[in-house]
């Protein structure tokens, strides 16, 4: 059943990515700005401009350019970056690990904070712990990354001197950008975990488990949490995709050499093939994460495994 689900999702992947790429292609060509003029400079000879435009296939009608891009992409060839004069696949592959590292760390951090805090708040609703967690999560959800990032740098790098300001290096370099990126997601998940746990802890099966004498940790971790995790995984999956979009700002603040910054540079230079390559990579990741979320859902909830 899981295999057929993965197959169905893979089939759906094609029209989804086609839609994304088509929209990006259309919008990008609607925006003013010419990559050849940006590349050759303002005073390039018209003959040189025409020759390069011909080389890059930009002299063809838009539908022809679009068809050419699709045919090449189907063969795994995303073309050449106009601005960086290198293959788009190589440029994207060079930056992708950094974005994955940042988004992955932010995701783990967000879940690592949301689960214990959400559970702690749910165990004693209305207590001081619950109120503090709710207040902190509200604040976390309201702080934009472009403000939070420099604030964290001021505190942890300049005032305390514990962490580097920016750049990608080891674990130390990852802490502040991952916190900046993951805090907003964590704030949303804390509230969701809390609510789901409160509902789950009030269910009959929890009362039954307690009546049977199950230890409290088992009641919470096995009986309540497993059921409470269903909505959490759905939202976490969607949020993981959003982390990739949020990474654009965080990567700029922390000088993190990821896909988001490459995308911004590509848009500035009207580097059409590179923009399409970046968006394709982000789209693939988004769809991949959501497929993984669906599979996880089925692993957690046996009822879904049997559903057609």
């Amino acid at each position: 059943m899981t295999g057929s689900l993965a197959g169905r999702r893979l089939v759906l992947l094609v029209p989804t990515l086609l839609g994304v790429v088509t929209l990006v292609f259309a919008f990008l060509h609607l925006v003013p700005g010419d990559p050849v003029e940006i590349m050759l400079g303002e005073t390039a000879a018209p003959a040189d401009v025409a020759a390069l435009r011909r080389d890059l296939g930009l002299d063809r009608p838009l539908p022809a350019q679009y068809a050419r891009f699709l045919v090449r992409a189907a063969r795994g060839d995303l073309g050449q970056s106009i601005a960086f004069r290198t293959s788009v696949t190589r440029a994207v592959a060079g930056r992708y690990p950094a974005t994955l590292e940042l988004a992955g760390a932010a995701f783990i951090l967000a879940l690592g904070m949301a689960l214990p805090l959400g559970i702690a708040a749910a165990l004693r609703p209305g207590s001081a712990v619950d109120r503090s967690v709710r207040l902190a999560s509200l604040a976390g959800a309201c702080l934009p990354g472009f403000w939070l990032g420099p604030l964290l740098i001021l505190l942890f790098s300049l005032r305390l001197g514990w962490l580097p300001v920016s750049g990608r290096g080891g674990l130390a370099h990852l802490v502040l950008p991952a916190t900046t990126l993951g805090l907003g997601m964590s704030a949303i998940l804390v509230r969701l975990v809390r609510t789901s746990m409160i509902v789950a802890l009030g269910e009959d099966y929890v009362r039954s488990a307690r009546a049977k004498g199950a230890p409290e940790w088992r009641v919470i971790a096995v009986h309540a949490l497993r059921n409470a995790l269903l909505p959490v995984t759905t939202v976490a999956g969607l949020q993981a995709g959003a982390l990739l979009a949020g990474a654009i700002i965080t990567e700029t603040i922390f000088a993190w050499p990821g896909l988001g910054r490459l995308l911004v540079q590509a848009i500035d230079a009207r580097d059409y093939p590179l923009v399409q390559g970046c968006v394709l990579a982000i789209g693939l990741t988004y769809v991949g994460v959501n497929t993984a979320t669906d599979l996880l859902h089925r692993a957690i909830d046996p009822r879904l495994r049997d559903a057609r």
Partner: protein
């Protein structure tokens, strides 16, 4: 106890990072990744800065924008169509091979080859052929007498065997060579051991790409970066000046900011209207409040340091005269001091914060003489496309790194509309055409100076643009960095003979630039 544990944890985290830069090394921050480290392809400002460190060219500009010998020990204009360069024999590529005339010839021919699609090709269009009769002589033949051609001899030289490679070639004979280029993150350079006069002392020179201005400033404060050449916002400069390990150095710059008019607009085609706009602006106040005083009000495009500069009076703010000029231009104020404007204009600018502030200041100034300005902000690529296609009325732009005064031909000659040149506003004057044509044909420097004095006076009279200010260069550097002289156009060649002093040097750095925190 908890603090000690946290400190220990942070130590462990830091240990997981990459090795710190050695004491003799320097970390420099740039805001954007250079598109290429190859002199045949790089056209953005940061590519030019790094090309200067990696490659040697026949000539390089001095502070007055005159060409000075670099790889060429000397040159001789044998006749108006022939220039002979005598090369030095002590330059070596980073791989140890000597730089010879054949390398120069191969590099120039490669750039001229349309198949390579080099953006530098247009600048060499006047070059008809190039000979290398012996290893230290290069002879260039031009199609026509063309004084600005020497500017094109700033092209970095590649080894002949690599000159036609379609991929990026970074092997050069400049003071540094590339060790590692992690695009979007950092470029690590080390001294070129074969550099004449001995390799540079900075070892390594790390160029970090830090796009956010605030983070650049925080890195400087923390010590993760030791030099920035792109001036941050004035209030951040003041904040940095308080750090004892940093020095903020200010020196006159050559970048000029100006207000451009579109002559196709019926209002702006009238000289009186353009002059009224120039008179409505208080440039001293703009410099003081928008740039924190870090600029000089400009009288023309060329800064006073430029060899072709001619002193001209700067128009001071005169609202009464501006209003009279608008009346005489046929635009009387419909309701005196009332809210109705004489006419409306659209001002296009980029969405950069400083640009938006300037737009608001100009809007307020023009409102005082009865011109209603609608400000529209755009992302840079969109704005530039509009400006190039003449789809604007008013906009503010800047010229960075002005070399030969032939810029006046490219910007103001009536045939130089994009894509041929930079005359985006459609200005046309037979006098300006004649003068700028003779300026590019004349090879004698003194006679050219006379011609360009007339060109500048004509531009000040006709006002195809209103020069606003020459922006100062503000460099923030570690107090340990010694021997570095910031250049007026922001190139990094001064790092060739710079070094890092050991320990916490308390002395101020050398050099004439004004120090904001020297006391």
């Amino acid at each position: 106890m908890r603090l000690a544990a946290l400190a220990a944890l942070s130590g462990m985290l830091a240990a997981c990072g990459e090795a710190p830069v050695p004491p003799a090394g320097l970390v420099l921050a740039l805001q954007s990744d250079p598109h290429s480290l190859d002199p045949r392809f790089g056209t953005d400002a940061n590519a030019a800065r790094l090309a200067d460190l990696l490659h040697v060219a026949l000539t390089r500009p001095d502070a007055a924008a005159r060409r000075r010998p670099d790889l060429a020990a000397s040159w001789e204009v044998r006749d108006p169509l022939t220039i002979v360069f005598r090369l030095r024999s002590d330059f070596h590529f980073a791989d140890g091979a000597r730089v010879e005339a054949n390398d120069v010839r191969a590099t120039y021919l490669a750039v001229l080859d349309p198949a390579l699609a080099s953006p530098k090709r247009a600048a060499l269009a006047v070059l008809s052929s190039i000979d290398a009769p012996d290893p230290t002589t290069v002879v260039m033949h031009l199609r026509e007498p063309h004084a600005p051609f020497l500017d094109a001899t700033g092209l970095g030289i590649l080894p002949a065997a690599r000159a036609r490679d379609r991929g990026e070639v970074t092997v050069g004979a400049g003071p540094f060579r590339v060790v590692r280029a992690e695009r979007g993150e950092r470029i690590v350079l080390e001294p070129n051991p074969g550099y004449p006069g001995g390799p540079p002392s900075l070892h390594p020179l790390v160029v970090r790409i830090v796009p956010d201005e605030v983070v650049q400033v925080l890195e400087l404060a923390r010590g993760g970066v030791q030099l920035i050449e792109d001036a941050p916002e004035p209030e951040m400069v003041e904040w940095l000046a308080r750090y004892p390990h940093l020095v903020v150095r200010r020196s006159p710059g050559t970048s000029v900011h100006y207000l451009a008019f579109n002559f196709r607009d019926p209002h702006l085609a009238r000289r009186r209207v353009r002059e009224a706009i120039a008179l409505a602006l208080d440039r001293d106040a703009l410099v003081r409040f928008i740039l924190g005083g870090a600029a000089r009000p400009a009288s023309g495009l060329l800064a006073p340091e430029h060899w072709a500069y001619t002193p001209l009076p700067t128009r001071r703010r005169d609202l009464a005269r501006a209003r009279r000029l608008l009346d005489r231009a046929g635009y009387p104020d419909p309701d005196g001091a009332g809210p109705l404007p004489r006419f409306r204009l659209i001002y296009k600018t980029s969405n950069q914060p400083g640009r938006r502030r300037l737009a608001e200041a100009i809007q307020a100034a023009l409102a005082q003489v009865g011109i209603a300005l609608e400000v529209r902000t755009y992302e840079w690529g969109t704005l530039f496309a509009d400006v190039r296609s003449g789809n604007f009325q008013l906009c503010a732009l800047a010229w960075v790194g002005i070399g030969d005064p032939d810029l006046y031909y490219l910007a103001f000659h009536s045939t130089m509309h994009p894509p041929a040149g930079y005359n985006r506003g459609g200005y046309a004057s037979p006098v300006m055409d004649r003068l700028t044509e003779s300026g590019r044909r004349e090879l004698d420097l003194e006679r050219r100076r006379v011609i360009y004095a007339r060109v500048q006076r004509r531009a000040a009279r006709d006002l195809p643009v209103v020069p606003l200010w020459w922006e100062d260069r503000i460099v923030v550097q570690s107090r340990r960095l010694r021997g570095f002289e910031p250049s007026p156009d922001g190139d990094l060649h001064g790092l060739t003979r710079a070094w890092m002093e050991a320990g916490d040097a308390a002395r101020a750095p050398d050099g004439p630039p004004e120090e904001l925190n020297a006391q």
